[in-house]
Symmetry: C2
Subunit: 180 residues, 2 copies
DNA sequence: GCCGAAGTAGACAATTCGGTCTACTTGTTT
DNA sequence: AAACAAGTAGACCGAATTGTCTACTTCGGC
């Protein structure tokens, strides 16, 4: 793994996630990372290519964190509880792997890139599919309905936390799913 | 109501909602609306002030549309059904008052404006609170739990529709809430 | 008609944007 | 040491950004 390339992706991801992709120009990324512009364009064809690399990195770290949090679940009830407690920790800045909570990087990115056919938008969609698959992997014989419910509530909890500043949604999701 | 001001807000709202606020500069709004720059700055102190006006207009039209869709509901079950069918229509571009579906303007705006203390972010939060109050107004003796569940699922359905391109979430939310 | 308000086209300013490039240095491999 | 890859500072480019301004026209009220 190339070290300069990694520094660029790390720096860009942090800045993009914190401020929004269209609010951070490449010159700011270069300034913070201390890397030369030509080096950036040596590794990435364009800003969009850098954005895609940040999405991939975020996808990877999010999914690794999620799998870690769902590991050792013994029942579906535990999967659900662990999932939403993980979300709660994320919203409360208690998931250092994910950084300071600034909503979902993939939702935010979808908001900033309006063309659904772009690689960037498609990657955001892909991420959501991957998260669903990970949850399914930890559940025992899950129905599609249960999976759907979990995913909708997960998305809802994230938006509630970020837009409405209501961090209590995960607890409510657990209760709701326990009545399912 | 001033006609030039209204044209500016209409035009800006359409462009912002379709492309994202940071992807549309004021020169583009002026070009599309055919209005002079000095006129824009006569009516608004800054781009941010124009953004806030678009949020207010969107908030108003969304809430009027929602109230219209929830009107005549006779039971809580009907409120829920009408709410999520309304969302379904919105996602499927069958709510002309709301324009072509491009996610939730308030979620998208929160993504683009990262400072939670800004008037713009606060307005997005205010909108979510208003929608919750409208739903509560149409429900008969709703518990806080029911209201919470409805709001979380509503947010989840919107994100599922926009990011994951899954338009079936509203139907699933109805089923889930019927088990509540 | 007069006057002030509202509106116009578009130049200007300083800055930023994403990307290309020159001329050079540093690091790695043979 | 030589050759090549990787990296550097930063100038340059054309375009775009937000906001200010000049000089003028149009509109509406009296």
């Amino acid at each position: 793994m190339n070290s300069k390339r990694q520094t660029l992706v790390d720096t860009a991801l942090n800045l993009f996630y914190e401020h929004g992709i269209n609010s951070i120009g490449i010159n700011q990324i270069l300034k913070v990372s201390g890397i030369a512009k030509k080096t950036l364009y040596h590794h990435f064809d364009s800003k969009d290519a850098l954005v895609l690399a940040t999405l991939e990195q975020r996808n990877h770290s999010f999914n690794e964190w999620l799998k870690h949090r769902l590991n050792h679940s013994k029942t579906n009830s535990e999967v659900i509880s662990n999932l939403f407690h993980a979300l709660q920790d994320w919203f409360s800045d208690k998931a250092p792997e994910l950084g300071k909570f600034r909503g979902c990087f993939f939702i935010n990115t979808s908001a900033e890139f309006s063309d659904p056919s772009s690689d960037i938008s498609k990657y955001c969609q892909y991420h959501k599919q991957q998260v669903r698959n990970i949850v399914a992997q930890y559940l025992f014989n899950p129905t599609e309905d249960l999976l759907d419910a979990i995913c909708i509530l997960k998305e809802g909890a994230i938006s509630m936390a970020y837009v409405a500043n209501d961090l209590s949604a995960p607890k409510k999701c657990i209760q709701l799913l326990n009545k399912f």
